[in-house]
Symmetry: C2
Subunit: 171 residues, 2 copies
Amino acid sequence: MMEQFNQTAEAIIVSAERLIREGGYNGFSFREIATEVGVKSASVHYHFATKSDLAATVARRYTERFMVAIDDAMKCETNVRIVWINAFRRALVEDGKMCLCAVLGTTSNSLPVSVQTETRRFFECALDKLNLSGLTETQSVHILSTLEGAMLLSLIFSKTSVFDQAVKELM
Amino acid sequence: MMEQFNQTAEAIIVSAERLIREGGYNGFSFREIATEVGVKSASVHYHFATKSDLAATVARRYTERFMVAIDDAMKCETNVRIVWINAFRRALVEDGKMCLCAVLGTTSNSLPVSVQTETRRFFECALDKLNLSGLTETQSVHILSTLEGAMLLSLIFSKTSVFDQAVKELM
DNA sequence: TTAAAACTATCTACCGGTAGATAGGTAGGT
DNA sequence: ACCTACCTATCTACCGGTAGATAGTTTTAA
């Protein structure tokens, strides 16, 4: 089950996720999060000792939430590809932001190890899940790559239609 | 033709490209570049007035170089898909880094406008070139998305084989 | 021809501001 | 009494950017 945090810690995680998805690991600060949440930066340190602790927690949370969403969707829709396309599409359209782990992943080699590990775990979990859905490993890697790339192009052009176009060939 | 810079400015661009590809727009500083190049940070400002000026120049250079490489490769190999796969593969294997414009693109909405514009231009140029090679727009968007995503996954897993696996289905 | 003016490329020294992180204190609940 | 969750205050290190000086080179013009 998902690790529990109190109200302030939860608000910090939500704020941090948004800021990382917008500006990457180097694009958020304790002070900015503190202001958003309504506390002082020292209080953010009380809940998360270091920046890497916070980012790693955010990434783990993101992965857990994403994988639960996939499992839920699989209860209603048997076509694996449709489930995954919709999951990424929702992350793009509802949040208007990139996948958290894609943002972190592009700068993977400059991240603290704990954050790097959590980022990689997202992709490991995703590939495991795809493989267990009856796809070959090659198909899984191809689908996941295309989905992340489609999100990127769609965000850059600010057009959801680009995402839809990119993933059309996955079906 | 490509804009000319003197030796120091060229070294600054090379250094900045490497640092941005490793840590994103917020992951490089005038001081770090200055140290690498062997001058003081004030001298970097002499060649590039602001951080966004430098990043925009780096992105424009990257795009020009990439598109020239595609044109060159098309002289020897007629299969468009092979040309593009090899171009991305080389950027990944030889540099061991992500595509510059993918790194910048993931945080697109938090970039200075000039950098955002240059980043988008890379993808516009790429799609134009693909479209002019006899592919449909849907095919072009799909290929470019998959290539960027394949680079990302390959980098995260530190395995070139992941790239090869992801793009196998493009052929 | 040569002296003055302008330009290039760098330096040192500094600005206000922000970064992550820490020490130590306080109010309220159990 | 202790623990939780905050606070104020502070630290060192670094950020992007600017001012002003300097030495060497090039252009201008008497």
